[in-house]
């Protein structure tokens, strides 16, 4: 019962953060909203039996990505200020999104999912299994990810630096 309440709180946190981030005019507030959502999602992961992924979510997403975004914001001063915000665009895109949401929600509610007998326990899919999976069956994925990350970082550095040289 308590678990249900807790997860419901996390879900609401996630949704509220997302909506806040989507609608709030100020860029910094927007990132804060994202941070809230990420935190809520981490809670959901925890409930879904994966403490490791939840930890990663907090470490990388909240600790890394959000912070990087804030830094970027700080580096370019004028970005931090409030941007022009057109109400009509927000309303139109909200209508489109709600349309989408309604259709998808109806789909979700009417679909029969082939559920498993009983949800797997945390023991069956702990960190060990993840590591094993990454190093055996899914090793190409792992390697690919590694390459992608290093390339992205090198590219990011290069892109930013070359322009700096020019200026």
């Amino acid at each position: 019962m308590i678990a249900t309440l807790v997860i419901a709180a996390f879900m609401i946190l996630a949704m509220a953060g997302a909506i806040y981030a989507a609608l709030v005019p100020h860029t910094l507030h927007c990132i804060i909203g994202l941070g809230l959502t990420l935190f809520g999602v981490a809670g959901i992961y925890l409930y879904l039996g994966s403490p490791f992924v939840a930890a990663m979510q907090i470490l990388i997403y909240i600790g890394g990505i959000s912070v990087a975004m804030v830094f970027a914001l700080m580096l370019s001063v004028s970005l931090a200020k409030k941007m022009k915000h057109s109400e009509i665009k927000v309303i139109l895109s909200s209508i489109a999104a709600i349309l989408f949401l309604a259709v998808m929600a109806r789909l979700i509610m009417t679909t029969e999912f082939p559920l498993r007998e009983e949800p797997a326990g945390a023991a069956a899919w702990g960190v060990e299994q993840i590591g094993h999976g990454f190093l055996t069956t899914y090793s190409p994925l792992f390697i690919g990810l590694a390459i992608c990350l290093s390339v992205a970082i090198i590219a990011a550095v290069l892109v930013a630096r070359r322009e700096a040289d020019k200026s």
């Binding site: 989507a22 994202l34 959901i44 490791f52 992924v53 370019s76 004028s78 915000h85 139109l92 999104a97």
Partner: protein
């Protein structure tokens, strides 16, 4: 808590991301929208992983990959953003319309 509840949460996140992408003029907030959508996808993976998948490792691995890719994406995105900012002193997407036909 049932599977549908998680799916609905992820749908809300996704829709919020859509709104952000469609309505904002600031590249940073658009990035936020994208992150929201990625998270929505991750939630779906985890939920299906928990409720239906045969091998529960798959979902987690995919979510980890998504997190990694998101990190890479943000790195690139932000560096481009910095360059763009330096070049144009603006990151308003309404002004960046060079692919216009």
């Amino acid at each position: 808590m049932s599977l549908s509840a998680f799916l609905l949460v992820s749908l809300v996140l996704f829709s919020a991301g859509l709104v952000a992408i469609m309505s904002r003029r600031n590249l940073v907030t658009i990035l936020v929208g994208i992150e929201l959508m990625l998270n929505a996808a991750s939630i779906n993976f985890m939920a299906f992983n928990y409720y239906t998948a045969v091998d529960p490792v798959v979902g987690q691995i995919i979510v980890l990959v998504i997190i990694g890719l998101a990190a890479a994406e943000v790195a690139i995105f932000l560096s481009i953003l910095m360059v763009l900012y330096r070049a144009r002193h603006d990151v308003d997407v309404e002004e960046i319309r060079e692919i216009r036909g």
